[in-house]
């Protein structure tokens, strides 16, 4: 009897103690009221490329959001709390660990605007990867490797010597183990394409430790194996930030936030983030692009001319979550969903839209299963983590081609180039970005591939007869025969959406009485989109 009480007491005591520690190690953001009495020289603070980007985007170099946080405020806070680490210029805040008593003192300070709990745990948007990495190219799926770039018509970039040169990409991930030794990055090392690195957890430069997740992600942007590119931006420059700690169960979004400011300072043109926050801190209805600090930070980064590309998340099969993660929910983030190979439709794990406030997400899609560099060899991982860097590489190439574009022009052009555009749904966005749209000799006019006819109490979708292939639009990457359609209400909201494989059927019919007057039937088939309004 005494033993049980002792056991339970010990358990309880250790639990309470651990929670006391937790209370003390509970993170909070302390937001300040102003940035008075601070000095800021943008030419001293920013990398030259960051200055160039601001000028290109017509942004003021003396934006107060970039001003440093008042050191006196930080010193005052540090005198109260046991630990303060990350400082955010953009949010004029410092991240601290404090207990309730210390919070009361902090909140009473005249220069403290508010104190808010920091959130928890960031999850790499990849699934367990294939362990079959015993050898290099001869052991990988050759079809997948070919499709990896060709599904975006990426070979057109390379045949035109567009390789992302001059574009600086920041990659936020859980670690880049092997990037300093793997043959897939030999050219990156030789050409000194890695401009800066930072481990935000350990406050040090070495990021080539811990997880191999970032290694795989980076390889799908820039890797080359035996002359075979794994990504499109093989000549881009890189900033590598380790922002996530797998071993620490309650790693915080503070590192993502610090990294985005660091990337801005170091002149990033594009940020690739194959990470996202989910249930550990948030509820699905909070995926509105406004609630999480990282979504707000991603929007600020976009406001500074950076293209932020984020994985949609791998919660598509999770009945308790299902929708996109944050910061993929942010309005100005290019959110990338994953397609399965070789079907080229949404992978079941890929998180779906819309956002909690009804906005369209994801924006585009790419292959979620890829051939990537692992620690020493090649692997075939899957997840939206790997769709995102494929699109990042695509964006870098496009920016090299059109250096005058702003980030949002680039964003819109990527969407408009995509295989389903102007059709979209919440599983695929606008589909797969297509390089062919940007090379005149490969541009093709969209020809009607079907007709929609109303007859008595039915609607018929009749495929046009394909004789030589000239009558259909070849400018589609999906290279499949899928027919996409959706039922929309009068104000354009998607009520239901479908992808079907029509196989041999030439006519697809549906009863008119499943529609209400004013509703729309929207159909996409082989590059052509048409609508039919129910009267």
């Amino acid at each position: 009897m005494h033993m049980l009480f002792l056991t339970l007491t010990l358990f309880s005591a250790s639990f309470v103690q651990s929670n006391n520690l937790e209370d003390h190690s509970q993170g909070y953001w302390v937001f300040f009221t102003d940035k008075e009495d601070v000095h800021f020289d943008p030419h001293q603070f920013f990398d030259e490329k960051a200055i160039e980007r601001r000028i290109r985007n017509g942004l003021c170099l003396y934006d107060t959001i970039d001003f440093p946080v008042n050191q006196k405020y930080i010193a005052a806070v540090k005198s109260i709390v046991p630990r303060a680490d990350v400082v955010s210029r953009w949010f004029n805040a410092v991240h601290v660990y404090a207990d309730e008593g210390e919070l009361d003192i902090l909140e009473a300070l005249s220069f403290v605007k508010s104190v808010e709990p920091a959130s928890l745990r960031l999850v790499p948007a990849s699934l367990e990867y294939d362990a079959n990495e015993a050898s290099m190219l001869d052991r990988v799926d050759a079809g997948l490797l070919k499709n990896q770039l060709s599904h975006m018509k990426g070979n057109l970039f390379h045949s035109n010597e567009i390789t992302g040169k001059g574009v600086r990409i920041a990659v936020f991930d859980a670690g880049f183990r092997g990037v300093d030794s793997h043959p897939a990055f030999r050219h990156v090392r030789k050409n000194n394409q890695i401009i800066a690195t930072w481990d935000f957890h350990r406050d040090r430069k070495n990021v080539y430790t811990s997880s191999v997740h970032g290694t795989m992600v980076l390889s799908t942007i820039a890797g080359i194996i035996d002359g075979q590119p794994l990504g499109l931006a093989t000549d881009a420059e890189f900033l590598l930030a380790r922002t996530e700690i797998r071993r620490e169960p309650l790693a915080e979004e503070k590192y993502w936030l610090a990294a985005v400011e660091w990337a801005d300072q170091h002149g990033a043109d594009i940020i690739n983030s194959s990470l996202g926050y989910i249930f550990h801190r948030y509820f699905p209805e909070e995926m509105d692009g406004k609630t999480s600090l990282v979504a707000r930070a991603a929007n600020i980064a976009a406001g500074k001319g950076i293209l932020v590309v984020n994985a949609a998340g791998n919660q598509g099969n999770d009945n308790h979550w299902r929708i996109i993660v944050t910061p993929a929910d942010a309005d100005s983030v290019l959110t990338v969903g994953a397609l399965q190979h070789p079907e080229m439709v949404r992978a079941p794990y890929s998180s779906v839209g819309p956002t909690a406030d009804g906005r369209m997400k994801p924006n585009v899609s790419a292959l979620g299963t890829v051939v990537a560099a692992s620690r020493r060899r090649l692997a075939q991982p899957m997840g939206t983590s790997f769709a995102s860097p494929l699109v990042t590489g695509f964006a870098a190439c496009l920016w090299q081609m059109f250096p005058g574009w702003t980030n949002m022009e680039l964003f819109r052009n990527i969407e408009q180039s995509s295989s389903l555009y102007p059709y979209y749904d919440y599983a695929h966005g606008f589909g797969i970005p297509q390089a062919s749209r940007f090379f005149q000799e490969h541009q093709q006019f969209t020809m009607p591939t079907f007709d929609i006819i109303s007859e008595n109490d039915s609607i018929h979708i009749i495929k046009r007869k394909i004789i030589t292939g000239r009558e259909i639009n070849q400018n589609t990457a999906t290279e499949n025969e899928y027919l996409y359609y959706q039922k929309m209400n009068a104000d354009g909201r998607i009520l239901r959406y479908y992808v079907i494989n029509p196989e041999e059927a030439r006519k697809i019919s549906m009863c008119l009485d499943v529609f209400l007057p004013g509703q729309l039937l929207r159909v996409h088939y082989r590059g052509y989109t048409a609508e039919f309004r129910i009267l």
């Binding site: 056991t7 639990f15 779906v352 919440y426 039922k487 479908y498 494989n501 697809i508 019919s509």
Partner: protein
């Protein structure tokens, strides 16, 4: 309303009369809203659970020694949680349990009698209800998180049996006796749980006796400690 919704969906799919040669690859309806009432850290949540507990502690009096480790309880149940805020919840559960006490064949053995056998066990099957109060720790989104539960339970012992083995002339005979008159018909007790998401450490103390007053049998150990798994995603 729900029926109408499903009916219209079925009608919509069936309306593709000439789609016999077609295959639906994706069919999705975007969520109109998110369920903010039901979920792991919402107002209401319920889930099944499985537990394995080991009987611990000394017997209440001599003559009721058991083999520890082999004496254990299996527990199945369904639990409901009503959340009041991020810290406090209350809940109820229905439980079905199987306790097996492997009796040590000591010199002073008295349970259920003083006859020495090769091996023997007493099995109690009960089903009942429990109530608990939960304290959650730390900030979290839509998941269970860390918690400490304190609860009480009451159950009806609907079946007991006495199983033992006899060896005679190299032959082993399994004897199973049920319908004994000495087990108590009801059990009640207290428990505490310490959990992180679906992994739970549980300790219980049975306040009531295993045997009725008229039997005058020495009481078996009343404590148990073990693991429980919540049958929910994480």
């Amino acid at each position: 309303m729900l029926k109408i919704k499903y009916l219209s969906l079925v009608l919509f799919l069936l309306s593709f009369g000439s789609l016999s040669a077609q295959r639906v690859v994706i069919a999705k309806e975007p969520p109109k809203s998110h369920d903010t009432e039901y979920g792991m850290n919402r107002k209401h949540f319920s889930h099944g659970f499985l537990g394995l507990h080991f009987i611990i502690g000394p017997p209440e009096s001599s003559g009721a020694d058991i083999h520890y480790g082999r004496s254990r309880s299996l527990e199945y149940g369904y639990r409901y949680k009503r959340r009041f805020n991020d810290t406090f919840s209350i809940g109820s559960e229905i439980i079905a349990r199987r306790h097996a006490f492997h009796i040590k064949q000591t010199e002073d053995k008295e349970v259920p009698d003083d006859i020495k056998r090769d091996s023997e066990k007493l099995v109690f099957l009960d089903a009942g209800l429990g109530l608990y109060k939960r304290v959650n720790f730390g900030q979290r989104g839509n998941y269970i998180g860390r918690f400490l539960d304190f609860g009480a339970y009451a159950s009806w012992v609907f079946h007991t049996r006495h199983v033992y083995f006899l060896e005679e002339d190299g032959l082993s005979t399994r004897v199973r006796v049920s319908g004994m008159n000495y087990p108590a018909s009801f059990a009640w007790g207290l428990n505490a749980r310490l959990g992180f998401n679906n992994l739970v450490i549980k300790g219980s103390y049975q306040l009531s006796d295993h045997f009725n007053d008229s039997s005058a049998l020495p009481e078996l150990p009343k404590y148990s400690v073990g693991l429980e798994i919540g049958l929910h995603p994480f």
